[in-house]
């Protein structure tokens, strides 16, 4: 199976361990990722904070490239990217005037035809049963708190994915591979997302609550499908511990890390050895 791929800036920057993990894991499942030619940044929070038109135009350009090059599906493993792409798609496909205007602005005809997928949806596309069949190692012993954060499910009218208050798609997949996901309260609370650098206090405060709640409910790791969640919970975990005088020592995995481990891939192939928090 071949799927279009929109990496986004984070996966080609300091979250390149996520790209490594996604590629290794999907490759083992027979999925080939075809990267979108000359894709541009989705604009992220900066665009929707400063210029609403730009916040539609930037993702619209990449959608236009995808349509021009005949992509039906586009995996955007970063939920910020996939939300912005989906929001632009929704606005453009539902408004003929905007469609015309945006096609001129981005210099490519764009109708909003491409389906944009998050990582979980790619596993669903492959089929959870097929993933289970391909698994070689049981994930028994892993008690993950599956953390969806904000943009995998919100806003629901844009994402149309899972339940926006009580999502369970990651739990279902990981449980089928032998893990024992815990029930907890912070599945869809925000970690502070892209505020890591400009408002560290917020990120440390929110991440501390998430890590504490996961531990209190018996989790021995947290599973994410977002580069920003990973930065805030993994890279900033030492700062959280210093700020709040606690020892979390919580391993933070990308979803593709745990699925990859179940498929028999090693930690290096998945980039797990490049995380900040390591097993003690």
């Amino acid at each position: 199976m071949e799927i279009g791929y929109y990496p986004g800036c984070a996966l080609h920057g300091s979250s390149n361990d996520y790209e490594r993990s996604v590629r290794a894991c999907l490759n083992a499942l027979g999925v080939n990722l075809r990267e979108l030619d000359d894709w541009i940044c989705c604009g992220a929070t900066a665009a929707h904070s400063l210029n609403q038109k730009l916040a539609v135009a930037l993702p619209a350009r990449s959608l236009g490239i995808a349509e021009r090059d005949g992509y039906d599906d586009l995996l955007a493993p970063c939920p910020m990217c996939s939300m912005e792409l989906l929001k632009a798609k929704m606005l453009i496909s539902g408004d003929a005037a905007l469609r015309k205007e945006m096609s001129e602005v981005v210099e490519l005809p764009v109708e909003g035809r491409t389906s944009v997928l998050n990582l979980i949806q790619v596993f669903q596309r492959i089929g959870y049963d097929k993933v289970k069949e391909a698994a070689k190692v049981s994930l028994s012993g892993y008690k993950p708190a599956c953390y969806y954060g904000c943009l995998l499910t919100r806003p629901p009218e844009v994402l149309r994915f899972d339940d926006c208050e009580q999502p369970s798609s990651m739990e279902t997949l990981l449980a089928s591979l032998g893990a024992a996901p815990v029930e907890w309260n912070y599945k869809t609370e925000c970690c502070g997302a892209g505020m890591t650098m400009c408002n560290e206090d917020t990120v440390l405060n929110l991440s501390h609550k998430i890590l504490s709640n996961a531990a209190r409910h018996g989790a021995n790791c947290v599973v994410v499908a977002c580069p920003m969640c990973h930065v805030n919970l993994d890279m900033k975990q030492a700062d959280v511990e210093r700020r709040y005088g606690v020892q979390h020592g919580m391993m933070i995995y990308y979803l593709s890390d745990l699925v990859g481990l179940a498929l028999g891939l090693d930690e290096e192939a998945l980039g797990i050895n490049r995380h900040y928090v390591s097993k003690r």
Partner: protein, 192 residues
Amino acid sequence: MQKSPSMVDVIEELAHTRVHDCYQCGKCSAGCPMADHMDVIPSQIMRLVQMERLDKAMKAESIWLCVSCQTCSTRCPKSVNVAGVIDALRQLSVEQNVASPAQQRTVVFQKAFLSNIRRNGRLKELELVGLFKVGAFVKDPSIAFLFKDSLLAPKMIARGKFHPIGESVNDRDVVRRIFDRCMSSSGKNDKG
């Protein structure tokens, strides 16, 4: 006290929502992860906009403390796009140069991010950090903040998570033209 009724129409258009649908139930503020730290909480922001007190809403610190998690919009029983209203207020506050002085670090960060994309088409992380730190220093000189994250660099390099140069797109001119078209049709003072 200035009244600017047409500005409410601008907000509604930018946010694709109807602000008068809000009946002040407070559910947005109840679920907001940042409400504890806000000077004006989301439901109060909505009320200010309804009362056409945009002067006050645009100056609120809270619109820059908002983490854009979309919980408020998701839970609104009247489907008001509260997060979109906050986005629209951010845009207008920057265009009119009235954004909260206390939150300039975040304003500078978002501007640095966008100008980076304008130049390269994709984010160059090191360039963003440099631009942001210098910009924030100009607004609020703090040597400690200037060098605060520098200790992360060696850790990132050791993990191969650091790209010294970063990526650009091939067709950078088209990115610039897209920016120019979007910027010219909005506020006058917006240089990105």
